[in-house]
């Protein structure tokens, strides 16, 4: 029995290391993962956009670039919080030349832990980086306890990483050089592009209530969110990047029912001003008044996104 047990342990350890390497290699070659693509060092952009799904779906560099005469890359990712954004920016700046501008999306929701979150698995292949490791430890202590173990550092989030690992191998075999979403913008799953407009009506508010009985719940300002918001501003300024914090239009029918939205907006503005960073809010745009322009309270459909990008481009052009 002892001999067999030793053989079993040997097989599990050897196979475990082999699978660990399989994951590692695959994830390091999957260009569809933004963390991987930015570490390839192939993006030389003038304008970097970052934030959660709102900018991911609404800012299309292909549409914005010609209007501002600058290259744009959208670094945003679904459901990401500031810690998530911070690490992507960190990996970007570590491997690419610093952009001229950073447009960071921030709303009262961004500072409330009920909305968006940190996704440690997005950085599983970069745990050797001390900033990545410490940020994960700060945000997900459970994963942090296991991320040093071979194999488990990947399979702990198997549902999120198994497929990307396989896909990475495919990219490597095909010698792929660009990701599926080349400029980082991802259209909403129901709309293939801005040329294939998406028209929806808001079904539920950000709290999951129907718009007609929209909640009056207050936003709760989270200190950790604030910490990473500040870290983003600091890291950007250390590289002499001009930062603009902005909020795209939201559906006013719901926003006006939110008890302390204005106060939190002011707090964001004050925090940004500590770093001499402007905070652009577009709540006076008529886009926000029509329910039909939105998929959910903060995400515009493709045609409204176009209108917003036109306004944004005008404002960017005035920056010079």
């Amino acid at each position: 029995m002892l001999k067999k047990t030793l053989i079993l342990i040997l097989i599990v350890v050897v196979a475990g290391f082999a699978v660990d390497r399989f994951f590692h290699f695959g994830l390091l070659h999957n260009l569809n993962l933004k963390a991987t693509y930015v570490t390839e060092g192939k993006i030389a952009t003038n304008v970097l956009v970052d934030g959660p799904c709102e900018p991911l779906f609404t800012i299309d560099p292909a549409y914005l670039q010609p209007k501002i005469g600058k290259t744009v890359y959208n670094l945003s990712l679904n459901h990401s919080d500031f810690a998530d954004n911070f690490l992507h920016i960190h990996l970007y700046l570590k491997n690419n030349s610093a952009p001229q501008y950073l447009f960071l999306y921030a709303t009262p929701e961004s500072f409330d832990t009920r909305f968006n979150t940190f996704h440690p698995y997005r950085f599983a292949a970069y745990l050797e980086d001390s900033i990545v490791a410490s940020t994960i430890a700060d945000n997900d202590s459970v994963y942090a306890a296991w991320m040093k173990l071979p194999l488990l550092r990947y399979t702990y989030f198997g549902s999120q990483l198994t497929f990307p690992a396989f896909q990475g191998w495919k990219h490597w075999m095909e010698n792929k050089e660009t990701p599926y979403f080349v400029n980082g913008h991802q259209p909403h799953p129901s709309a293939r592009s801005l040329e294939n407009p998406l028209h929806f009506e808001v079904q539920l508010d950000e709290y999951g209530n129907k718009p007609e009985d929209a909640s009056n719940k207050s936003f709760v300002w989270d200190k950790k969110r604030e910490k990473y918001f500040r870290k983003i501003l600091q890291i950007a300024q250390s590289k002499r990047i001009k930062v603009v914090v902005y909020e795209s239009p939201g559906y006013s029918g719901i926003l006006k029912t939110q008890a302390n939205r204005k106060e939190v907006l002011q707090k964001i503005k004050n925090t940004a001003e500590e770093y001499q960073v402007p905070y652009w809010v577009f709540d006076s745009l008529p886009t926000g008044d029509k329910k039909i322009n939105f998929i959910c309270p903060l995400i515009m459909n493709s045609s409204a996104s176009k209108e917003f990008m036109d306004t944004l481009a005008l404002r960017i052009n005035k920056l010079r």
Binding site: T5, G16, V142, L151, Q160, L204
Partner: protein, 462 residues
């Protein structure tokens, strides 16, 4: 999750060592039970001890008394049943007010399971099937035996006693068989059940409306999920128990391969069904013994209603029971008329019927159940108009390639397992150390297991 697993292995190893090395094996099991409960929820310990001691002393009263046997018996059964009702009422009201949470059930962990053992014990003593136990420790250990405390299997005191009175002798084959069985249970739970869980959540915990086919499919997925979740737990319980040289009864016999509902109930949650047959069905049937058909029918109705009540007080459980009552009545009538269908059709109909009933079982409330089942009977909205967005994306929790990969992977695991279930089961019961089997199980669990945000065992809420 992983941390808990590590503590758990440490706990099992220590307990095994103490169990075989000390002469006080009952005390070891007693403290193991308490420690196990304390680790999960220490607040559950008082109720467990009080209930077991209550049944223990009352059984002695029943046996000793010559004139008030019935009084003590009725008092005991009523007290236990009232507690069960109160517990179910508490769960029901908690669920209605704040939604389900395991924290709210803290002090009632395993309650439904050990209450059945206590009721059976009083019943058996009353009818003279067994003599009351004289050692309180032995009885309490049988109720608090940790491998089965959370989700069974349901056992009687007699079944446990024979193992506890024997002096434990360490046998290598018991350890190996236990590990083999435990590995299978962990695989079922972590690789299959927890992979299927988000798919059912996507439908049952959503406010959206789905096509009838999507809803029915959600019922099928839940049927698979609950099977792999529950049988996974039981495999682990049987595996751990076997390491201690204690053989717990089997709870499943490939139920998803049943060709009729009658057969399904003989193969599903066997120990509960045996308990219900013994302590509900037989007494009820006995009342109507003059008419065979009525006796069977009333037996089925009362047994399934009791089963529904045991699962919970919600209307959804009642509707689930009514579905099965209807199925079994139809089968009874078909049997009487000697009506038979080809095997393939009966297999399909059985799975379909079980899945449909499970729509009620899984629905958090009646409104959801009504919404989900309503679409099934709608001719206009039965089929999804767009399969990718209204079917695959729903269960894949998105239409991205990663979501589809997870969707297909979960199904592959579940179907391959069911296809080779008999072979896999016999391998997991082997007393031989197979490097291939264990290495495969461990690697499959490590690579494909769900470790982040895993689900609680479904039956630990009952």
């Amino acid at each position: 999750m992983l941390q808990n697993a590590l503590y758990f292995f440490l706990f099992i190893s220590t307990m095994l060592f103490l169990f075989y090395k000390t002469k006080q094996h009952l005390l070891v099991l007693f403290f193991a039970g308490l420690l196990f409960m304390a680790f999960i929820q220490w607040r559950a310990i008082p109720l467990l001890l009080l209930n077991s001691l209550f049944a223990f002393y009352l059984a002695q009263k029943i046996a000793d008394s010559t004139t008030r046997k019935n009084t003590f018996f009725i008092l005991g059964i009523a007290a236990l049943l009232v507690q069960l009702v109160l517990f179910k009422l508490f769960v029901f009201s908690e669920q209605s007010l704040t939604g389900f949470s395991f924290e709210s059930l803290a002090f009632t962990l395993g309650f439904s399971f050990y209450t059945l053992q206590n009721i059976a014990y009083l019943f058996d003593v009353k009818i003279g099937r067994i003599l009351p136990e004289e050692k309180a420790l032995l009885y309490v250990v049988s109720a608090s035996y940790f491998p089965k405390i959370l989700c069974g299997p349901v056992v009687t005191f007699q079944q446990m006693k024979k193992h506890f009175i024997a002096t434990p002798v360490f046998k290598e084959e018991n350890l190996i068989a236990g590990i083999n069985r435990f590995a299978l249970g962990a695989f079922k739970k972590l690789v299959i059940a927890d992979r299927l869980a988000p798919m059912t959540t996507a439908v049952f915990d959503s406010t959206d409306t789905f096509s009838g086919f999507t809803s029915l499919f959600a019922g099928l997925i839940f049927t698979l999920q609950v099977y792999f979740d529950f049988s996974g737990y039981v495999d682990m319980a049987l595996g751990i128990s076997r390491m201690f040289g204690i053989t717990l009864p089997e709870n499943f016999a490939t139920p998803l391969g049943s060709l009729s509902i009658t057969q399904f109930w003989r193969r599903w949650h066997i120990t509960l069904m045996q308990w219900l047959t013994q302590y509900v069905y037989y007494p009820v049937s006995y009342w109507f013994r003059k008419n065979m058909f009525l006796s069977a029918l009333f037996g089925i109705v009362i047994t399934l209603l009791f089963s529904a009540f045991w699962h919970g007080l919600g209307l959804t459980f009642l509707l689930w029971a009514f579905c099965h009552i209807a199925y079994l009545t139809i089968e009874l009538l078909a049997q009487k008329a000697n009506f038979k269908l080809p095997k393939a059709i009966t297999y399909f109909l059985t799975i379909l019927a079980v899945s449909f009933a499970n729509l009620f079982f899984r629905s958090p409330d009646f409104v959801t159940a009504k919404k989900i089942t309503g679409e099934i009977f709608s001719l206009q909205s039965f089929w999804p108009s767009d399969w990718l967005s209204q079917f695959v994306a729903v269960f894949g929790r998105g239409a991205e390639l990663n979501d589809l990969f997870n969707f297909y992977l979960s199904w592959t695991f579940a179907l391959v397992f069911l296809l080779f279930e008999n072979r896999i089961n016999s391998r997991s019961n082997s007393e031989k150390f197979s490097v291939f089997w264990l290495a495969t199980m461990i690697l499959l669990i490590l690579v494909f297991g769900i470790f982040s945000g895993g689900e609680q065992f479904i039956y630990s809420r009952f």
